[in-house]
């Protein structure tokens, strides 16, 4: 037989288990402190302000989930966000602050600890999430919305789709006759500088940087009294597609803003390849490149201003690439 006190204890336990779940905000806070901060030996007071900032600034994943109305994602954290990656997973850190500083200086996955001979689950998941972002960057298209806003028309290379673009680099460098015709008919010819945009291997990079980089380059060049061609967008384009464009429009300098092959560090990196009197079949060494244009590299708008100077230098030296450096 159960005694009265045992019955009371059972009843109490049942009531406890039936209490409503915590409110979403509270849940998120619990989630964060238990999941991410569990190996952080700090006072509770230090945890709260950080959580507050997390709640105010929604991660990209959260924004996406809101847009799609996926209520299920409520309370989920974006493990690929810089804030989350900044937290060391290593146990028993001798100098935690020192490790955090080192982590802040490199996109490499340091201070992640291990579980026996393997990575921790979180590290593994982050790697896969970053890889997924990289794949998305390659396979997604640049949105028509952005191209309309920037007033760019689209010309495709000989590649029929992304799969062909990846497997046939040669086709990503040339245009079908009708594509070349479009370029010739819609663009100004005989210009000092032709600028165009291409997805390359990362549409994400174009989405992230284009609006901040293109206008400053065009304005800067015009302010220097240069004749700037009509900008447009090349779909499924490789770098060397600029050679055919340069020939078709008789451009002195051609500059393509192109999404770089995404890595696991960032999928938003853009480069500018610039060549003086580019011709089909010319050596790659004749291209000047400004790389690492993204929020954690050189900011897009600053890169744009720098590119204006580089183009001016190329025009003065009448040379680009390795020849410019001589």
């Amino acid at each position: 037989m159960l005694t009265q006190s045992q019955i009371d204890a059972i009843a109490e336990a049942v009531i406890q288990s039936m209490k409503p779940a915590p409110a979403p905000e509270e849940k998120r806070r619990m989630h964060r402190t238990t999941e991410i901060k569990k190996d952080r030996p700090v006072e509770a007071s230090e945890v709260v302000p950080m959580d507050a900032s997390f709640m105010m600034e929604k991660s990209p994943a959260e924004r996406v989930s809101q847009k799609n109305g996926l209520a299920d994602n409520e309370g989920l954290i974006d493990i690929t966000s810089p804030e989350v990656k900044a937290i060391p997973l290593l146990d028993h850190v001798e100098d935690r602050e020192g490790l955090e500083r080192m982590i802040a200086r490199t996109p490499a996955r340091i201070g992640v600890g291990n579980c026996g001979p393997r990575l921790k689950t979180r590290t593994m998941l982050t790697l896969r999430a970053d890889h997924a972002a990289a794949r998305d960057a390659v396979f997604m298209d640049v949105s028509q919305e952005l191209l309309d806003r920037m007033n760019l028309f689209t010309v495709a290379t000989r590649c029929m789709d992304k799969t062909q673009f990846l497997t046939r680099p040669d086709l990503g460098r040339i245009f079908p006759p009708e594509g070349l015709e479009t370029i010739k008919s819609k663009c100004v010819h005989d210009i000092d500088v032709q600028i165009y945009v291409s997805d390359g291997l990362s549409s994400t990079a174009v989405e992230a940087n284009l609006e901040n980089i293109l206008p400053i380059i065009i304005e800067g060049l015009k302010a220097k009294g240069l004749k700037v061609g009509t900008p447009f967008f090349v779909k499924n384009g490789r770098v060397a597609a600029m050679d055919q464009i340069s020939e078709a429009l008789n451009a002195t300098v051609t500059c393509v803003l192109l999404g770089e092959r995404p890595g696991l560090a960032t999928a938003e990196s853009m480069s500018a390849y610039i060549a003086y009197k580019a011709t089909v079949g010319m050596p790659e060494a004749r291209r000047t490149v400004v790389s690492n244009i993204h929020s954690r590299g050189i900011p897009a708008v600053e890169a744009g201003a720098y590119i204006v100077d580089v183009i001016q230098k190329i025009l003065e030296a009448k040379a680009s690439g390795v020849e410019l450096k001589k």
Binding site: I216, V290, P299, A300, E302
Partner: protein, 479 residues
């Protein structure tokens, strides 16, 4: 295309007890790869000439004899083989008890032939601590090892301490502890006892009077008390005696992290690191004994002590080699108007900057007028943090705001000078140049430089193919 530039920098330190001159060669180099945007940094600081250590010529206890200082500096220039025109940058630092306005004016007048192009500044105790900590190598150690390092610059009259954490200054302070606080005559009698030493002897029950025979055991006991006080200071212990000997005008040495290593500089440091044979009275003061006492104290047994790169010359090397920094590598200037000297800074707060980014001009105009009433300089630098990854529209609005206000309020012909922390100066400067102005104006816009309200800034001739300009930020200046 030159990827490397060097400039010659001179450092002159006029302290309470010694005057020194050094020359150092600073090398600026592009450290970025071939395919990246250039990144120019100071890659080497080589001290190419060190003067003898002269006693500072004084007219009375505190006033510098300007003419004699001038002779010392002229002689050192001659011995080094450099002409005043060879130096592109540098600093004259007046430290310790000599750091007062009258002395600064004397030095400025007497050294104008040499120092026409230099920084002349009187270092208060705080600045002196930081300069010495850079010169001793303590700061570099804290960067290389990503740890906290305290540098104790123990001179004649004071000990200046600075705590670096991975290169950042997190605390600084100064107490009246030094090697010349007890002076002895050549026949072994006590000649001078400072107020701070009297406080120490009183609290310890030790009897020491001017004219007494200078007994080693008594002087050593004072050294022990000083070492123990320094130890307690570093351990953040409250101590009434310590509080009573804090140098007026210095900061409270407060911090919230354990000290991982300590380093000594200043005249007494040599006696700490390299105890030498000979009479303890050989310098006519208690410096040698203080060195011995520190070496035997808990400072040595409880802390990791690192070797200083410079000891007695730490401050002058700091002044000569570490006062010049370099701008970001993507900057704007429409023509070479350099060097610019002693430009006062108007610094915008984060909120004020945000208002400018949104394109509103009202607050900025008001602040600029206020600054113009405060300062007699026609030129001024408008400084702000900037944004790490600004959008095109933000920069465009900011450019329009700055040009409209600066063009309206700056006197005719004065350049628009902008200093930012975030990498955006080329974009902002380029947009500013495209905007029309009533008067023709130069635009100079640089980044990666941190300045504060009340700072003064020098900008040197462009280096490394014109990509960067050397910058000296002065926190304190008279003249």
């Amino acid at each position: 295309m030159s990827e490397e530039s060097t400039i010659l920098s001179v450092g002159i330190d006029i302290g309470t007890s010694t005057t020194q001159v050094i020359f150092s060669r600073l090398t600026f180099k592009n450290s970025a790869g071939y395919f990246a945007v250039p990144h120019i940094a100071i890659v080497d600081k080589e001290v190419v000439y060190k003067s003898n250590i002269h006693m500072t010529p004084l007219k009375n206890r505190v006033m510098i004899d300007g003419e004699k200082v001038r002779n010392i500096v002229a002689e050192e220039f001659r011995k080094s083989g450099y002409k005043p025109t060879d130096t592109q940058t540098g600093a004259v630092i007046i430290t310790g008890e000599s750091a007062r306005k009258e002395n600064s004016e004397i030095v400025l007048r007497e050294l104008s032939d040499f120092a026409g192009e230099f920084v002349v500044s009187t270092a208060g105790p705080d600045l002196e601590a930081i300069i010495a900590g850079k010169g001793s190598g303590a700061r570099q150690y804290s960067i290389d090892n990503q740890c906290t390092v305290a540098n104790l610059d123990i001179g004649g009259g004071t000990t200046n301490v600075v705590l670096f954490d991975a290169g950042e200054v997190i605390a600084k302070g100064c107490v009246d502890i030094g090697g010349r606080l007890v002076k002895v005559t050549s026949d072994g009698r006590v000649e001078y006892i400072s107020d701070s030493v009297l406080k120490m002897t009183a609290s310890d029950g030790l009897s020491l009077n001017i004219g007494d025979e200078a007994q080693y055991t008594k002087i050593y006991r004072i050294g022990e008390i000083m070492a123990e006080l320094l130890y307690r200071w570093l351990c953040r212990e409250d101590d009434r005696l310590l509080a009573s000997i804090t140098t007026p005008g210095s900061s409270q040495f407060k911090f919230h992290k354990p000290i991982r290593a300590i380093c000594f500089s200043g005249g007494v440091a040599d006696c700490i690191y390299h105890p030498a044979e000979g009479s303890w009275m050989r310098y006519g003061d208690m410096g040698v004994v203080l060195g011995e006492a520190i070496r035997a104290s808990r400072l040595f047994s409880d802390f990791r002590v690192i070797e200083a790169k410079e000891t007695i010359r730490a401050t002058v090397v700091g002044a000569g080699s570490y006062t010049t920094s370099v701008s970001g590598s993507t900057i704007t200037y429409n023509r070479d108007v350099f060097p610019l000297k002693n430009i006062p800074v108007l610094k915008l707060s984060d909120e004020e900057q945000q208002v400018c980014f949104s394109g509103q001009t009202g607050d900025l105009a008001e602040k600029l007028r206020w600054m113009q009433r405060q300062s007699d300089s026609k030129q001024l630098i408008l400084a702000m943090k900037g944004k790490p990854n600004p959008s095109y529209m933000e920069v465009k609005r900011l450019a329009a705001c700055l040009v409209s206000v600066l063009d309206a309020l700056l006197p005719e012909g004065q350049p628009m000078l902008i200093v930012l922390e975030c990498d955006m100066a080329k974009a902002l400067g380029q947009m500013m140049m495209q905007l029309p102005t009533v008067h023709p104006r130069d635009v100079i816009c640089i980044d990666s430089v941190q300045v504060d309200q009340n700072d003064f800034v020098d900008m040197g001739k462009p280096l490394v193919d014109g990509l960067v300009i050397p910058v000296v930020v002065k926190t304190l200046i008279f003249g």
